[in-house]
Amino acid sequence: MAATLPAAGATQEARPFRLSKYLSWSLDHKVIGVQYLVTVFTFYLIGGALAMLIRVNLLTPDSMLFIDKSTYNAVFSMHGTIMIFLFLVPVWAGFGNYFIPLMIGAKDMAFPWLNAFAFWLLPPAGLLLILGWIVGPPQAGWTAYFPLSGPIYSRADGQTLWAISLHLIGISSILGAINFIVTLKNMRVKGMGWFQMPLFCWSILATSIIVLLATPFLGGALTLMLFDRLAGTNIFNPATGGDPLLWTNVFWFYSHPAVYIMIVPGFGILSEVLSVFSRKPIFGYKAIALSSMAIAGLGFTVWAHHLFTTLAPWTRVPFMITSMAIAVPTGIKVFSWLGTIWRGKIRFTTSMHFALGFLSLFVIGGITGVLLAAIPVDYQAHGSYFVVAHLHFVFFGGSVFAVYAAAYYWYPKITGRMMDERLGKFHFWLTYIGFLLSFLPMHISGLYGMPRRVAAYDPKFQAINILTSFGAFLLGVGQLPFFVNAATSFVGGIRAGNNPWRALTLEWQTSSPPPEENFFDEPVPAPDPYGYGTPEAASYLAGDHRPRKLAAEAGLGTNPLMPVPDMPDMPTTSEDKPVSGDR
């Protein structure tokens, strides 16, 4: 009898890596996931380089690098646009594409062709955006308010290319979201009810709903912008009856939910990583799952907190209330995560470093967020470096740290190799310290009167700006170890085995990397994907899936808090032994 399955604990034989597979059209969600990740990290490097240019320019109060200050405006406009639309929004499509089918025990996403199509919209969209440099780059910020972004004050065609590029990115985003929603709803393996789904899946579900409902509004606004720029209409031009605030409102109606698109999957990652590396169940699973959905819903009601200095005064008040309210489900998550690590047995892997770093930085971003939600305080902080500080604490201290946590966590599954932990920790500390040095001081310069998006500033802010810039240079340099690590570990890292972290979620119950059809046999989910410390989890990790499988089929064992009755002995042979979790 030929063994049809790898024996327990066996490591995956190295399959030859073919670069051409990743450079061409593929329907395999794992290939598409890697294509997404490599693409978005490339744009991350470009966006980061632009940030370094910004910080060099701000070393002196008089725009030392860019004599023509409109070039500076182009640099930060591109920095923001690239980091948001070409990195933080699609990166979760990348991780989601690779891991959602694995985590729910499916062979692929619901619509493999649509999946590939959605990805392949991204590189041309990015190229189109960057091509804007040649014809005259956009200079109106990533928010592109009218009339500055209109045909009179932004004559350069780069602003038009910006609008077309964002259209393509939006379509890609929506198609991906539809794919995720259908996959998560219809293709979970038998035995995995909604509340046995890992929290990363919940977070992708919530995010996809946001994308589906919000991105069309960006599409509508961009369409009208293109008409104003190309067809001579005057929808946003006040001189001829249009309304510049129409753009502002519709833009933020998308862009506020967009920030939740960028962070909510990060919340999902945090639940995975904190639980696995504390060896404890996630504290308050249902609360975290449902609070993600609450944040998705509430996120649609807060957008005009970006407009506290713009709207008619009394219309500002409801948005203060909703913006304060959204702190509550977010707080629930933070406290639940603290409850997860409390009394755990923490393994300080690099992934865990970034997850803990996220917790320490995101709470600061959350507190400054509540400060901004109070209208009178916002009067001082809006449009200043205080906001730049807040957004980087949540985008970088939050989302990017979660991206790194995910990368270090899942790299072994994707490549079959472990990343170097020492280099990883070095990466973490350079990033953490550089980040604090760079962005903490901005809170002060903002409140003291330094507006954002300025190539030149009042000389009294120079000392803070020098400190910020040196922190930023440290932060920038500090990202290089990650890329070096990713590259060298790929060829020389220790082989990972199926489940180096001894995790309970389904992606770890197959080889690293997984075979093309994802699993060697029918995947059997753990009754509780966070059941660390329970005897069921111990036996699951020891390879004994079968009682769970039969129990699941019988409709039992789907409640993680209810013990599963003993099952009768089943015949076993070496052929029947399922893939084991242990390394």
């Binding site: 499916a106 649509l114 069309p216 369409t223 309304d243």
Partner: protein, 194 residues
Amino acid sequence: MTTKYPAPQETTPGQQLSNNRLLITLTIIALSLVFACLIYSNFIVRNAQGSWPPAGVDRMDSLTPLLMTAILILSSGAAIMAVRSLKAGQRGPLLTYLYVTIGGGLIYSVWMLAFLARLLTTFNGVYSALFLALWFVHVVHAVAVLLYLGYVTAQVRRGRYSVAEGWFPLEGSTNLWHFVTIVWIVLFVVLYIV
């Protein structure tokens, strides 16, 4: 004695159908929101003017658009009949109804594209700008759905789709066509009646 586990779950035809239906539903939701955004914008800009149409601007002729409304409703009706024919196994009528649907759609699209081309050269401020924007987005989507319907018709001519074999592309494309018609009716009301 060996117990072989079955291969990892293949997507069953039933599951694929469920997936496809959800795809169409979610697509229609997303597209509805694009039009909701444009309709909202229309009202905001409209309210910023003193009167509607603004002073000195002629009202757009609504007779031909009304005719187009009738044509689109008829084409949707033909699409419904096409689906009924397939379910009754009548290939001939199925094809005929599909041709009528596409024919109606083509008449609308050609008229609209010509109208918009003319409008581009003669427009006069926000009044025509809104017509231009809203109608353009509509006809772009109508043409896209027409292409899908064209593909489905070609497949029907090759003998594909039946109750036994499955006929989702016909269902999906006709549902999308109904969506095109409904959006047209809403836009017509918003632009000409309200």
